[in-house]
């Protein structure tokens, strides 16, 4: 069984803060991490390997620095990794990213592809399903539990807005996973050693046979027009006085608005 996990290196958005004076992001000292959902995808892949046998390959499309994320995957127990990296990929939106991953996965071959639910830098959740579409295989989003996996099929629980569905699919299939799915293991000592020694194989646009009009900025239908800081609400008011006076003022306001 060939299992491929797609991971992304992202800035740790929990650490990102806004400078209130300049309304710009403070990115200094913000560490790069493996997208948290993707760590659960790696864990899911390792568990599938334990149940059904096979090989886990972790891939990422990104700049040379993303190699670090791949080494961490090896430390967790991945058998193999690929860094899909090329200047031509710069500026990819989700369309171009999914196309690029599709070309890479096609080269490597896969029975099960695992992605995180979404990447925390963009929170789009689009790359997984779009990748499945290009591969012409089914996908199941928001997987929260692996119920069963065999050589030819898989059964999982998919989180829905009002509960969950039990879904079955033949292989090959793509899954996107949520955090409830598992508790990721910590790297073993042996894994850390392997990670240190590993030679990371790189794949360029040419290696995966990606067409130039479909990758990078040129292959991206969406454009960022601008970015700006979220506006604070205009009608803010901190109430004054003793707690009693503040509560009086609040209740008066609520009455005025006919809320109580």
């Amino acid at each position: 069984m060939q299992i491929i996990v797609c991971i992304k290196q992202v800035p740790d958005t929990a650490e990102v803060r806004i400078n209130p004076e300049t309304n710009t992001l403070i990115r200094e000292g913000v560490p790069s991490i493996i997208n948290p959902y993707d760590v659960h995808a790696i864990e899911a892949a390792l568990q599938i390997r334990e149940k059904a046998g096979g090989k886990v390959t972790v891939i990422t499309m990104g700049p040379p620095q993303a190699e670090e994320a791949l080494r961490e995957s090896i430390a967790m127990g991945a058998d193999d990794v690929r860094l899909i990296s090329d200047r031509l990929f710069a500026g990819s939106d989700t369309w171009a990213t999914s196309y690029t991953l599709y070309k890479a996965v096609q080269k490597l071959g896969a029975d099960i592809i695992l992605c995180g639910k979404q990447a925390i830098d963009g929170d789009t959740a689009q790359v997984g399903p779009a990748l499945a579409e290009y591969m012409n295989i089914p996908h199941i989003s928001y997987v929260r539990k692996l119920e069963d996996v065999t050589e030819t099929s898989i059964r999982v629980q998919r989180l829905m807005d009002d509960g969950y569905d039990v879904v079955e699919s033949p292989l090959p299939v793509l899954l996107t996973v949520v955090k409830e799915m598992n508790v990721p293991r910590l790297p073993s000592l042996k894994g850390k050693m392997a990670a240190k020694k590993a030679v990371i194989i790189k794949m360029t646009a040419e290696d995966i046979g990606a067409e130039e009009q479909n990758i990078g900025l040129r292959g991206s239908p969406t454009q960022v027009k601008n970015i700006f800081a979220p506006q604070a609400k205009g009608d803010r008011r901190v109430l004054e006085g003793t707690p009693e006076q503040q509560v009086d003022a609040l209740v008066a306001e609520l009455r005025r608005l006919q809320c109580v």
């Binding site: 999914s98 579409e133 829905m160 969950y164 569905d165 079955e168 601008n226 979220p230 809320c259 109580v260």
Partner: protein
């Protein structure tokens, strides 16, 4: 398009290094240089105090993917679960109506599954046409038939704008549609506007955990597609006498490899429904212990609201996860949101900042929650809430 830095002008002030959300600006020999992380978001251009950063076209602009003028009309995807159209569909009709008016075009809904009465309901909420496919295949949600049929309809009728809910269903199958058609898709929009000059759809959404907002365009491909978070847009006007056209859609020839064996509605999630609540009273770590939620519950009952919480309170085990509001919990948009003992971390704020009125009670005057609060009370919640209960009772007589 590319961002370039004029090294002559660059003073090495590092303003751009700090402003770049992608970490694409580096300092080399006292000058800023751009690395491979650049996403051409243009965030650096305005922050440069000496105007050393600019955008250049270098011939790799978008080639129109299809003939833009052929695409007309605004579509919204009306999702249903267990035969009932989800509330987000009516919200999409609200914003869809505005966009259709600005573009001087029609507003249509697409409905897979459910029966005629649900299609009629969409018309009363503002749809002029409903493309309605009825088939047992749609009794449960499967990505493949949904995306195949949507692709077919888009190719046949060529809408200019297609909106869907940023829900478990919408976020799952719509990326397949945009992928196949080759067009842009913007996730989780909180604001949609038409650019008066170009007629393009400006899709505004939070990024980086809500720390910044981005305006996204899809200038050269159609349709322009977006998903919209539930409870962010206002519903359109309901008119029981409105009439419209229901266009039956043939669902033959669709394939489906996944199979839903069971569809389980979890009691808790269905009953609380934070997202439909008009008033939410939320507690955070400031409560100090699980018992604090008894006070929160009392306030909620008094004002006819439901109980929400921050993640810290969930992590402490004081209240179940389904009450959590925020980035990894629910996005809510009640008329009144009362935050008690919640500091206002961005991950919490992104889930509740579009509430009509936000009331914050916190003993720390510098807590960021006060930045979004309509009314802020600086004080101990154990003093303030009992007073509030008493005064509301008095006010009601």
């Amino acid at each position: 398009m590319r961002i370039v830095i004029d090294a002559e002008l660059c003073t090495g002030c590092e303003a751009c290094v700090n402003a770049c959300p992608f970490g694409a600006m580096e300092m080399k020999d006292g000058k800023a240089v751009i690395n491979d992380f650049c996403n051409v978001c243009k965030g650096c251009i305005d922050v440069c105090p000496v105007g050393a950063i600019s955008e250049v076209a270098d011939g790799d602009e978008f080639k129109p993917g299809n003939d833009l003028a052929d695409y007309k009309g605004v579509w919204i995807f009306a999702e249903q679960r267990h035969g009932k159209v989800a509330g987000v569909a009516y919200e999409l009709l609200g914003i869809g109506r505005k966009l259709a008016e600005e573009r001087n075009t029609t507003l249509s809904a697409v409905l897979f599954g459910a029966d005629d009465s649900e299609a009629q309901e969409l018309i009363r909420w503002g749809a002029e046409k409903v493309y309605h496919a009825k088939d047992v295949l749609f009794d449960t949600f499967n990505d493949e038939p949904y995306s195949q049929l949507m692709i077919r309809l888009i190719e046949q009728y060529k809408p200019e704008i297609v909106l869907a809910g940023a829900t478990a269903i919408g976020r799952s199958f719509v990326p397949r549609v945009a992928g196949r058609i080759k067009t842009g898709l913007t996730a989780d929009c909180t604001q949609l506007e038409i650019d008066r000059e170009t007629g393009n759809l400006m899709q505004i959404r939070p990024a980086f955990g809500g720390n910044i907002m981005a305006t996204i365009l899809c200038p050269s491909y159609r349709p322009q597609m977006a998903t919209v978070r539930p409870r962010v847009m206002k519903r359109g006007e309901y008119d029981a006498s409105r009439t419209g056209e229901i266009i039956p859609v043939n669902a033959e020839g669709l394939t489906c490899r996944t199979r839903v064996l069971a569809s389980v509605c979890e009691e808790g999630t269905c009953k609380i429904n934070l997202q439909d609540a008009e008033i939410i009273v939320s507690g955070g770590r400031g409560l100090g212990d699980a018992k604090g939620f008894e006070l929160i519950r009392e306030v909620a009952e008094l004002v006819g609201g439901v109980v929400g919480s921050s993640r810290a309170a969930v992590d402490e085990g004081w209240i179940p996860y389904r009450h959590q509001v925020g980035q990894t919990g629910k996005t809510v948009c009640p008329k009144i949101y009362i935050a008690c003992g919640i500091s206002g971390a961005v991950q919490h704020i992104v889930g509740m900042s579009s509430s009509d009125i936000i009331i914050a009670i916190n003993k720390n005057p510098d807590a960021p929650i006060f930045n979004v609060a309509t009314y802020g009370i600086v004080g101990d919640l154990y003093e303030v809430l009992p007073l509030l209960i008493k005064k509301i009772r008095e006010a009601r007589g």
